[in-house]
């Protein structure tokens, strides 16, 4: 367990002080239920939260992890093939996303950042819609209310305010659903996130702040962002926090369930720090070898989220050929569907830009649309599609 404790690739002389005397407000250590080697270790407090997870469900979590990794690698390939403009890989963060998203109820509402494609998959977003924005075909990929997942926020941390606001709305409605918001270690330095936590604490709103500490805010290491553990920042707001092994799908699920349960019963917000690692670049336009030590990557590769679930299944005798074949087939099918949906996606029309600005008619916008269509017509193409420069 202690090998995961630092989460810094083991060598962080000037990293945040993780010693016990610096550590207030959160549990004694990183919560872990499956070791990197695939051994199920018991935890006095958190075992209870996943006691109901059956062998079958464990296999299903394994499938989820494999599938979203496949979505990620397929999307990365599509970017390299010119089919997507950009892609922010989630490689390494699968357990954080699956463990938390699979703990949610359908009526909970998710406010995510741009890397949570795995969460989007769990919420049931159509595969091509996950990549629509990255292909540049739309400003948003889906209707938030059909899946109770807001479209991903690009602005770092801005959506945490939306989550707190939504949670305050839940309070007004007297409902027992919960808002959960996903953001990274870097976002905790943003004003928006701090404001969101102040309001959530003051109003004791049912919101879960789910921070995936993947150790890098683009090229900025987490140790420069925070001189204490990220989870300990929550104490300053009076928000209880949990520090969990983000590469352990069961531990993440247990922590998220505890936080959700607290929120549903009037216990207010919880901050979860899922300690994980971004194994890939920040986006496909980034080269992490320019700022990151290869040894660090190796250390984290040894803590792979999928390998440990696989190891656990194996120990339990559940890793049958049949299961492996089923999971592989599912991943293949998902990748195929994603690719076909991507390359066959029709290009948007120039006037589509006016479609989703207002939900109701707006004369001011209508006038602009009229001007713009006449402008397009002046290119001499009645279809109004100067697509080479206009559309992309």
């Amino acid at each position: 367990m202690f090998t995961d404790e630092l989460g810094q690739g083991g060598k962080a002389p000037d990293g945040p002080d993780n010693s016990a005397n610096h550590h207030r407000g959160t549990g004694e250590s990183l919560i872990q239920l499956i070791t990197p080697g695939g051994e199920r270790v018991s935890h006095p407090q958190y075992d209870a939260w996943v006691r109901d997870v059956s062998d079958e469900q464990l296999a299903s979590l394994y499938e989820d992890l494999v599938v979203i990794r496949r979505i990620d690698t397929e999307a990365t390939a599509l970017q390299r093939q010119g089919e997507l403009g950009l892609w922010p890989p989630l490689l390494g963060q699968e357990a954080s996303q699956i463990g938390s998203a699979r703990a949610l109820r359908d009526d909970d509402f998710v406010f995510s950042s741009y890397r949570e494609s795995g969460v989007a998959y769990c919420r049931g977003v159509d595969l091509p819609n996950i990549i629509k924005v990255w292909r540049g075909n739309a400003s948003a990929g889906w209707d938030p209310y059909t899946v109770n997942l807001a479209t991903p926020q690009i602005i770092i941390g801005a959506h945490t305010l939306h989550a707190t606001g939504y949670a305050m709305g839940i309070q007004n409605d007297g409902a027992d659903s919960v808002a959960i918001t996903y953001f990274g270690d870097g976002a905790t330095s943003e004003g928006d996130v701090n404001e969101a936590m102040v309001f959530a604490a003051s109003f004791q709103s049912p919101v879960v702040f789910f921070c995936q500490n993947n150790h890098w805010a683009i090229s900025e290491p987490v140790r420069l962002q925070s001189h204490i553990r990220i989870a300990d920042r929550a104490a300053g707001f009076g928000i209880p926090s949990i520090r969990v092994d983000g590469n352990d799908v069961l531990a993440v699920m247990a922590a998220t369930r505890e936080a959700l349960e607290r929120a549903r019963h009037g216990g207010g917000p919880t901050f979860i720090e899922a300690v994980t690692y971004r194994m890939g670049p920040h986006t496909t336009a980034d080269d992490p070898t320019r700022y990151r030590d290869a040894n660090e990557l190796e250390d984290w590769a040894a803590k792979d989220p999928i390998a440990r679930v696989k190891g656990l299944l194996d120990r339990k005798g559940l890793l049958t050929d049949e299961l492996e074949a089923r999971v592989a087939a599912k991943a293949d099918a998902v990748a195929r569907e994603l690719r076909a949906g991507c390359v066959n996606m029709p290009d948007p029309k120039p006037l589509d830009i006016f479609k989703h600005v207002y939900s109701t008619p707006n004369s001011w916008l209508d006038r602009q649309e009229d001007h713009y269509s006449r402008y397009l017509a002046s290119f001499g193409d009645p279809a109004g599609a100067p697509s080479e420069e206009g559309a992309r």
């Binding site: 390299r80 093939q81 320019r290 390359v343 697509s387 080479e388 420069e389």
Partner: protein, 453 residues
């Protein structure tokens, strides 16, 4: 059926990439997403996954070629009915025609250089800030002369007209505008295009095409043409930017370094340096670091953008290295805090990494002062050009046995010439001279260090 794969924009707004290597050959059967090539963009080296499953029928570009985004690089024979319809159907076609532009963060737009500020036309003397922002359309109408009134400005027209002109291959600068204030209208362009080939239009087009194929165009034996790219291109850009922004002054000092060479021999024999590769460069570097403490202005940077002088309180010592890929200047971080043994180890590691061509970008950036050892080529002195952003560079000349005055007699001594270039904006003659004299004093008599530290 045959499918082409065109080089995509691999970053955000990149215009070109270099094919480093092919991982497949013509005739190979490849699977979807199998890595087929390694390419280097301005941002990163990335692997290209195959967009199709099929057989490679052609590799259109050789390794080492810089390819424009949108150019076909490889063709596949793909089984007709694969459920994988025209992967790049309309998209690549558009990509091919796309005007390269740079968005996002980070990369240097090498293809066109820096954005050029448009020459301002004669704005009215009392131009308000608001007027300043626009390129003065209001200033012209008083003159009823057409087009050529504003030769430095792009001829004024509307986007649809510019598009039409581009489609017709018409150079707008040659078109007289009939609209208000010389505005070029659709009719102007059409009339111009219909009125026969204007000399201005064709040469431009021909020129553009010629430059596209220049690389392969000349098979002549008396000259060889090599495309300017990679390290050579970067080196050239760095040299030009350095030579034309920092006023260089160079000073020379010839020193009897026999005592230093004797010291070197003693150190090599000592247990503390056993196994280390101690060279004259190590000692020159150490001398420079010691002298630098007394003249910190040589370890600074001119920040034009912020109108500030940045004084470094650390020394990242650059060492110019000739590598298989050309000149690079990797640097040793915090060299000023290193003991002689540490410095020696760092220098050995740096040169070995550089020779192997494995220097990382981090090692190449952030240098604060540099040394170049031209002595290894048997050269005595020269005017080194500053590594961009640095205030000084020291060239070590060759070590020669020369007749030299020693204790009032002429004897053979080991003599070396030091050449120091410095940025005269940052360093006055006094500081530069004292710095060079200090280095010389240490090398002529290493004991002088006691008087300096």
């Amino acid at each position: 059926m045959i499918k082409e794969f065109r080089l995509p924009d691999l970053g955000e707004g990149l215009t070109e990439s270099e094919i480093l290597s092919w991982k497949v050959a013509v005739g190979d059967t490849v699977a979807l997403n199998q890595v087929i090539a390694e390419v280097e963009t301005a941002k990163a080296v990335v692997e290209l996954p195959s967009p199709f499953a099929g057989v490679i029928t052609a590799l259109h570009e050789q390794p080492g070629t810089v390819v424009e985004v949108g150019k076909p690089i490889v063709s596949f024979e793909v089984e007709g009915d694969d459920g994988e319809p025209a992967g790049g159907g309309p998209a690549p076609a558009e990509a091919a025609k796309r005007e390269p532009n740079l968005v996002g963060y980070g990369a240097v737009l090498e293809a066109t250089g820096r954005p050029v500020r448009r020459a301002r036309t004669f704005a009215s003397p009392a131009a308000s800030p608001a007027d300043e922002a626009r390129p003065a359309p209001a200033a012209v109408p008083s003159e009823s002369r057409p087009g050529p009134v504003v030769p430095a400005e792009r001829p004024r027209s509307t986007p649809p007209v510019r598009k039409l002109a581009k489609d017709l291959g018409v150079e707008l600068t040659a078109v007289p505008g009939s609209g208000a204030g010389g505005l070029i209208t659709r009719e102007d362009v059409q009339n111009f295009a219909g009125g026969g080939e204007h000399p201005a239009a064709t040469p431009a087009m021909a020129g553009a095409e010629a430059s596209g194929s220049a690389g392969t165009g000349t098979p002549g034996q008396r000259e060889t043409r090599t495309p300017i790219k990679g390290v050579r291109k970067l080196t050239a850009a760095a040299m030009v930017s350095s030579a034309f922004t920092a006023p260089h002054a160079t000073e020379f000092l010839t020193v009897d370094v026999t005592p230093t060479m004797e010291l070197l021999a003693r150190l090599k024999a000592s247990r503390a340096f056993e196994g280390l590769k101690l060279t004259p460069l190590t000692l020159v570097a150490k001398a420079l670091l010691i002298a630098l403490r007394r003249q910190p202005s040589l370890n600074s940077r001119w920040d034009e953008g912020n109108q500030e002088i940045v004084q470094f309180n650390y020394v990242n010592l650059g060492i110019a290295a000739a590598t298989p890929r050309g000149l690079t200047v990797p640097n040793i971080k915090d060299a000023d805090r290193m003991s002689l043994t540490e410095l020696s180890t760092a220098l050995t590691a740096l040169t070995e990494t550089a020779r192997a061509g494995k220097t990382s970008p981090a090692e190449l950036s952030g240098g604060t002062i540099s040394i170049t050892n031209i002595g290894v080529f048997g050269i005595d002195a020269g005017t080194p050009i500053l590594n961009p952003g640095e205030a000084a560079i020291l060239a070590m000349g060759a070590m020669r046995k020369m007749p030299w005055e020693y204790q009032d007699e002429v004897v053979l001594r080991q003599v070396m010439t030091l050449s120091l270039s410095f940025d005269h904006r940052l360093v006055d003659g006094e500081q530069g001279s004292r710095f060079l004299a200090d280095i010389g004093a240490i090398l002529a008599d290493p004991g002088m260090v006691l008087a300096m530290v």
